[in-house]
């Protein structure tokens, strides 16, 4: 893309005990770009997304977003927990299993961040929540608890919750893989619309049709490294790495939508 780089991850290494789960991973994401990450289960995709917004702390490496280096203050000293929380909200995060707050209504789920983090007044936060939920086609469901919503609706509430914080980029971790097949499309449509509006997104997904038609770039991870990347049609059409070829062979017949 010709737009400037928004997120720059450099040399990310993450260990869990003796296991190295990510090894020296670099990734640039440009403003307005949609990057899709694919890779076998256990290859480190979730961990990488979590290192981007520091839900996990990498052993080495840096993540910059706009002019902020995560975990560092502007004077270069380590950020404390509060400053890190502030930096973290530059990223929205959409989880595989939604992770909505079960005791709150859809509206309260979406309003929580603006109220408690941005310090927006209650009425205004709720108006913003209703606005985001309406945008995702959930106007009739604002007063419902997560337990009263379908999986697809819950995931759209989760997207609205991320959007309400006005993030610079949204990270999606397999947002449709916990959904019944008939509910996948509504979530993909919402994400497609977001990408169309120019939102910067990093999406871990195995929805190949979505990847081909929406993503500007696809990245293949294996064993904690980025092995190959490129324009989705090239990457999926003419894979060079043997592991990617094997992965695509196993994937296509089941997952193509």
């Amino acid at each position: 893309m010709v737009t400037p780089v928004l997120v720059e991850a450099r040399g990310i290494t993450k260990r869990f005990g003796p296991r190295t789960v990510l090894e020296d991973v670099d990734l640039d994401v440009h403003e307005g770009e949609t990057v899709v990450i694919i890779g076998a289960s256990g290859s480190g995709k979730t961990t990488f997304l979590r290192c981007l917004n520091r839900l996990e702390t990498p052993e080495t490496g840096q993540v910059r977003i706009a002019d902020v280096t995560l975990g560092r203050r502007s004077d270069g000293r380590p950020a404390d927990e509060r400053e890190l929380s502030q930096q973290r909200r530059l990223f929205g995060f959409v989880f595989q299993r939604f992770n909505l707050f079960p005791h709150l209504t859809a509206m309260q789920n979406v309003a929580l961040g603006p109220r408690r983090v941005l310090g927006v007044r209650r009425a205004e936060a709720e108006a913003r929540a209703v606005h985001e939920l309406t945008r995702l086609g959930l106007a009739e469901h604002v007063g419902k608890r997560p337990g009263q919503l379908s999986g697809g609706q819950q995931q759209r509430v989760a997207i609205a919750r991320a959007l309400a914080m006005d993030p610079r980029v949204i990270l999606f971790d397999e947002p449709t893989s916990a959904l019944d097949p008939e509910l996948v499309q509504e979530v993909l449509d919402a994400m497609r619309a977001l990408a169309g509006e120019g939102m910067t997104m990093v999406v871990v997904t195995h929805e190949m049709r979505f990847a081909r038609s929406v993503a500007h770039r696809a990245v293949f991870m294996a064993d904690g490294r980025i092995v190959e990347q490129g324009v989705p049609n090239d990457l999926f059409g003419a894979p060079r790495d043997e592991r990617l070829r094997r992965f695509l062979r196993h994937l296509e017949p089941h997952h193509d939508r």
Binding site: L55, S85, L112
Partner: protein, 263 residues
Amino acid sequence: MRSAWLLGAFVALVLLFLLGPLLIAIAVAFSSGERIGFPPPGLSLRWFADALGNEQFRDAAARSLWVALAATVISVVAGTGAAVALTQGQGRFAGRAWVQAFIMLPLAIPGIVLGLALLPTAIMLGLRPGFWATVLGHAVVGIPYSAYLVLAAFAQYDPALDRASASLGVGPWRSFLRVTLPLIRPGIVSAAICTFLLSFDNVALSLFLSRGDTLPLRLMQHIQFTATPAVAAASVMLVLLSLGAMLMLGRVLRGRGTIRIAG
């Protein structure tokens, strides 16, 4: 058919066994006679009036109430803290199971033994028998109960919600207040009710740690020395109070009337 009939008879016998003595106490409470005896010579409410008018009972009830409230606050705060330490954040340390078992230990010790051990301990700490010694003694049992009930609530709690909070920039403290606490609230409320009841009708520990002035002890003294049906009347009122608390507990545990906190 036959086995159902047998089962019914068995249940009836068990209920009679459990509730029979209570029924006798209730009958005695409504007696019009001067002494405790069954069957009562006639019915009246005079012993309820007598119990309510008895200054010793009233003072003892007030004392027991304050002891129970203080013990409840201490137990629930400490028990919740222990449950948080055992499950949240760095809670999955090695030896966690040992620490948990250790916290539960006071529940395995007979009350009398515990009281016998706590009295010299309290005195060693410069605490004479009295209000605070009783409160802390009750908390020794209340804390493990509370920790147990709050731990059970945490077993239902999904730690992924903490990640959801963090991803929104909600700090750990605020997330605990807004997300964790409302979700474990049923456990905390049941801990509070259980600890309160535990303290309010405790005899074994109060025997050593109080100055004989809690309600259960006063009732015992009354039975030993005077033994009018006023004791039965006071007991009936206590049973009603406990019953009310139990009903509340049932509601909490079924999750009704809880979780009503707005974002």
